[in-house]
């Protein structure tokens, strides 16, 4: 068992591999059950941020009996501070396509979609070329699987899986009630597996090198490597593949500019960790690593002491206010209240105690919002207000 919390670089995702035909052929010669088991034993978890075990997701969809099923690659990368998926799709698209095709084979789906965010329109020509090549090969090995690109049109909420389905069905991207979950009722009401771009790219690694190779990376509960999008006050912004489980202190040592005040882990919907907690914070999914463990879609924004945390929060809340779909009360009104609330406190129109009322409000949003967007507003809000309360006050 790995117990290291050190920062370790890895290089799987962007490693150039020219053997995708071979891997795909090899995979479809195995039974779906074998492939699912392989995935389950790798303990790969969704790389979009929520961290649902990928093997289980495939398994659930495979178990549902239905003639029509879908595989969807979620490339609606809208989280502020995240830009890894674009890079994957432009550098190693075939890994993603292979992952999708294998998933289709496993669950019995013949159609795959890549939901590409509108901002990445420029990726389309190259990606289409790769898809055509890929489909041609599939035909050659008698694998009935087609892939289409579905372009988004600029709505962050469509990264939420059920909102994404609605959007693909030509509607407003408003999240659905859950249950039912996508594995039984997804796109067009059919069983659907929806995976993040990076997750699918990782399946390629797992199918090529075996589950163990992947499992050996990272720490308990958080296996494997992960792409991190590093931005903000850092001398070396960019995308890095690191093993999960490192402590935030190590991360800041490597990427900080020496004056890092706080790190926003997981984008606007993630948590802000202040300097005093760097040591006890580890990057990974649930389970006690050191002190706090934070899941993430890979966004790491660093802020140095010249930055006003009020401005950061203000920016996030404005983002949420605009990008909330608007259908459920706690999220629609809550985001507006939070934004206006911190402004009012900052201007001195409300006293500092009002921040507590707002914290209570984020608690309610967390408990009652219909989808992840409204639920996760609480994360950045409470972590910023609790740690930098003095910066919020007039």
């Amino acid at each position: 068992m790995t117990t290291s919390y050190q920062l370790k670089r890895a290089d799987f995702i962007f490693k150039y591999e020219n053997d995708w035909e071979k891997i795909l052929s090899k995979c479809i010669s195995r039974t779906p059950q074998e492939l699912i088991n392989e995935l389950i034993s790798s303990e790969l978890k969704g790389r979009g941020g929520a961290g649902f075990p990928t093997g289980l997701k495939w398994k659930l969809a495979a178990e549902v009996v239905d003639a029509t099923k879908y595989v969807i690659c979620n490339a609606d990368e809208g989280e502020p501070g995240t830009f890894k998926d674009r890079e994957i799709l432009s550098m190693v698209p075939y890994k993603v396509l292979t992952g999708m095709a294998v998933c289709g084979y496993v669950i019995g789906a013949k159609e795959g979609y890549i939901y590409l965010r509108g901002e990445y329109f420029f990726l389309q020509p190259e990606l289409n070329k790769a898809i055509r090549e890929f489909e041609y090969y599939c035909k050659g090995i008698n694998l009935d699987f087609t892939i289409r690109i579905f372009m988004g049109s600029g709505a962050y909420i469509c990264g939420e899986e059920t909102a994404l389905f609605e959007s693909m069905e030509g509607k407003r991207g408003e999240p659905r009630n859950k249950p039912p979950f996508p594995s039984s009722y997804g796109y067009m009401g059919k069983p659907t597996v929806i995976n993040n771009v990076e997750t699918l790219a990782h399946t390629y690694t797992i199918f090529k090198y075996g589950a163990k190779r992947f499992y050996d990376l990272g720490v308990q509960y958080s296996r494997g490597s992960k792409l991190f999008s590093v931005s903000g006050d850092t001398p070396k912004p960019g995308i890095y593949e690191l093993e999960l489980g490192m402590s935030l202190a190590d991360f800041v040592d490597e990427f900080g500019d020496g004056d890092t005040k706080a790190v926003q882990v997981g984008g606007a919907s993630g948590f802000l960790v202040p300097r005093k907690r760097f040591d006890e914070t580890a990057i990974g999914f649930q389970g006690k690593l050191t002190g706090i463990s934070l899941p993430t879609g890979g966004s790491m924004m660093l802020f140095n002491s010249s930055r006003s945390m009020f401005n950061v929060l203000d920016n996030y809340l404005e983002f949420f206010r605009e990008e909330s779909c608007g259908q459920c009360t706690p999220c629609r009104v809550g985001c507006q209240q939070l934004l206006m609330g911190i402004k009012a406190v900052k201007r001195g129109e409300k006293n500092a105690k009002y921040l507590d009322k707002l914290l209570r409000l984020t608690e309610t949003m967390k408990l009652t919002a219909k989808c992840g967007l409204g639920q996760s507003v609480a994360n950045s809000f409470s972590s910023i207000v609790e740690n930098f309360r003095e910066e919020m006050i007039y």
């Binding site: 009630n177 605009e322 990008e323 909330s324 009104v333 809550g334 009002y354 009652t368």
Partner: protein
């Protein structure tokens, strides 16, 4: 056999069918969970989050209306978490709601008001959002006023417009804080496909959608001593009005209603039922003429099936969405407009009044009638045929304003000349009623015999099915109708515009070959109209229908052609059905409209 599962709600064990929502299960267990965006007529949205409950073992709260029960689920509807969250959600709703209850038309019948009162939100700490928003109030429609500052975005109206009515005039636009309920390109309701049926009003929990009210105008007319104010009341009003005045659902208040109207100061209180009987005479004759033209003369210009034209919401709907099929509509005006035209001609003459001084008011279960009365075609008497249309709800307000102790009123009768009616007219208020009334008369006209149904009750066209079908075979007709011998008269009845669309689609695709179709815009017919008391639900509509049919059975005359005042008006004034005078006063034509 549906699987049964066991769950516990607040420690009470209940057994429910698999797939039951937590909300329904709780209601079964005698636990009340508050709701706002939930409505029995509509699909589940789960967006207001007021109904959240705690499920043991789950981190987040679940929306009770949208979450199905699972085996051995442990549910708490009332935990501290739930109470706090629910209160805060209501608080949030209030923060974006214009809370001037005292000047709101829905004051006293507002679900948000009730919720706020039940949960006693006493401190409004949140910032009031209303002043920061540029809310619009759309007052251009003659029927409906839409006030965005009172909208809580539950989307009930949007679902009503789409699911119940298939009109889709209202939609959700934008996202985030800008998200709002609006129309195509935020045009006024009057400029879009809106059928003015008013179902959105019936389903709106707050005062965001209300009818345009003409109460003041009518008071002014009554107070004006130089005016002779005539009022007519639609069949469905008498089974709805009681609900607004504290009587139960489905209580008939015909006599009290007449007494109240007289107390209000109307100079003549007459009955739309009279013109309902007249409609049957005109429409029935028109149907027979059309049958002849098609079956005997093979005239390609005459279209079958013939569709009824009593429901102005339906008329506006077909004008917008099926403008190529306007020929199928009967040319008859709706009973209200027939009454209006006659009030300023026949009645004025008989009473020796200057039609200029007559103000014609109608009490309708309908908001579309407000639009209809304002149509430019409706000036056949030389004046505007109907001056003001009030809904059942508005009448109730007038009665309250006048301080009339409704319960204590003695029953009174409608005034003569245009106040007599038959049971056939009464059932106009329920879906299938026009069809039934027409068949009672047409069959007897053609064969000389009663329609072959027990006690004249044509049960196949009754009930709340969306589309109902019936056929009657005509045997041994009178000599002049010999061409109908052996013809099986095929009829259909549709209520709710979404069902109307179904029937229209089947006609367009050629699947259906009906002769005669009754269309009503509102679910349940006029008794579920957009001007009827709120709330509405399938059960309430059934109760009102029951009351209507009971009124019919209690009438001494049950066929339109037996109405002595009808016989008199043809003798004295109109001549015969479809006469020139009828055509001038009682028939109309339709306009094709835009499709959005």
């Amino acid at each position: 056999m549906v699987k049964k599962i066991k769950i516990s709600i607040n420690g009470i064990f209940v057994e429910v069918e698999d797939g039951t929502t937590i909300l329904d299960a709780a209601r079964k267990a005698g636990v009340i969970i508050p709701t706002l965006c939930f409505h029995k007529d509509l699909c589940i949205a789960g967006n207001c989050r007021v109904c959240v409950v705690e499920v043991a073992g789950q981190k987040r709260l679940a929306a009770a209306c949208a979450t199905p029960c699972e085996e051995e689920m442990e549910i708490f509807t009332n935990s501290l978490n739930v109470l706090h969250s629910r209160k805060q959600i209501i608080e949030l709703l209030l923060s974006e709601h214009n809370a001037d209850c005292t000047s709101c038309f829905k004051n006293g019948n507002c679900e948000l008001q009730k919720l706020a009162s039940d949960y006693k939100i006493l401190k409004q700490d949140f910032i009031r959002l209303v002043p920061f928003k540029n809310y619009t109030i759309d007052k251009y429609s003659p029927s409906i006023i839409k006030d965005d500052s009172k909208c809580i975005r539950c989307q009930r109206c949007v679902r009503t417009c789409a699911e119940l009515q298939g009109v889709n005039a209202l939609t959700v636009a934008y996202k985030g804080d800008l998200m709002k309920i609006t129309t195509f390109f935020e045009k006024p309701m009057n400029d879009v496909v809106c059928s003015t049926c008013g179902q959105c009003i019936n389903h709106c929990p707050t005062g965001a959608l209300v009818e345009r009210n003409y109460i003041e105008k009518v008071w002014d007319a009554i107070s004006d001593k130089t005016k002779h104010v005539v009022v007519q009341t639609a069949p469905a009003v008498r089974v709805g009005l009681g609900e607004e005045l504290g009587l139960g659902q489905g209580v008939r208040v015909t006599g009290k209603m007449v007494a109240a109207l007289k107390r209000l100061g109307f100079d003549a209180v007459m009955d739309t039922d009279f013109t309902a009987d007249l409609t049957i005479m005109e429409e029935g004759t028109e149907l027979l003429m059309r049958l002849k033209a098609v079956l005997v003369d093979h005239d390609p210009a005459v279209k079958l099936p013939m569709a009824t034209s009593c429901s102005p919401g339906w008329i506006k709907y077909i004008e917008h969405l099926f403008p190529d099929y306007l020929d199928h509509l009967s040319t008859c005006k709706s009973p209200q407009q027939m009454f209006g035209a006659l009030a300023k001609t026949y009645y004025a003459k008989a009473r020796n009044l200057d039609p200029e001084t007559i103000v014609s008011v109608s009490i309708m279960p309908c908001t579309a009638k407000k639009f209809e009365a304002a149509r430019p075609e409706m000036h056949d008497s030389g004046y505007r045929d109907v001056d003001y249309v009030l809904t059942t709800r508005e009448l109730a307000i007038m009665i309250k304003q006048a301080g009339i102790d409704f319960m204590k009123l003695d029953d009174m009768h409608f005034d003569r000349l245009m106040g007599e009616s038959t049971g056939a007219a009464v059932i106009f208020g329920a879906t299938g009623g026009v069809m039934e009334a027409a068949l009672r008369t047409v069959y007897e006209l053609v064969t000389g015999r009663d329609v072959p149904f027990e006690n004249l009750n044509i049960t196949p066209v009754r009930g709340m099915d969306g589309v109902k079908e019936a056929s009657i075979k005509i045997e041994n007709p009178l000599k002049e109708w010999a061409f109908l011998d052996g013809v099986e008269l095929k009829c259909a009845v549709a209520h709710g515009l979404v069902n109307a669309k179904k029937v229209m689609d089947s006609i367009i695709s050629g699947q259906a070959n009906y002769h005669f179709i009754e269309f009503m815009a509102c679910p349940g017919g006029c008794l579920g109209g957009g001007g009827q008391p709120i709330p509405t639900s399938p059960e309430i509509r059934l109760k009102r229908a029951k009351a209507i049919y009971a009124e019919d059975e209690g009438m001494p005359l049950r066929k339109s052609h037996q109405n002595p005042e009808i016989i008199k008006i043809y003798k004295d004034f109109l001549g015969k059905p479809l006469s020139e005078k009828s055509h001038h006063l009682l028939h109309t034509q339709y306009t094709a409209r835009k499709r959005y």
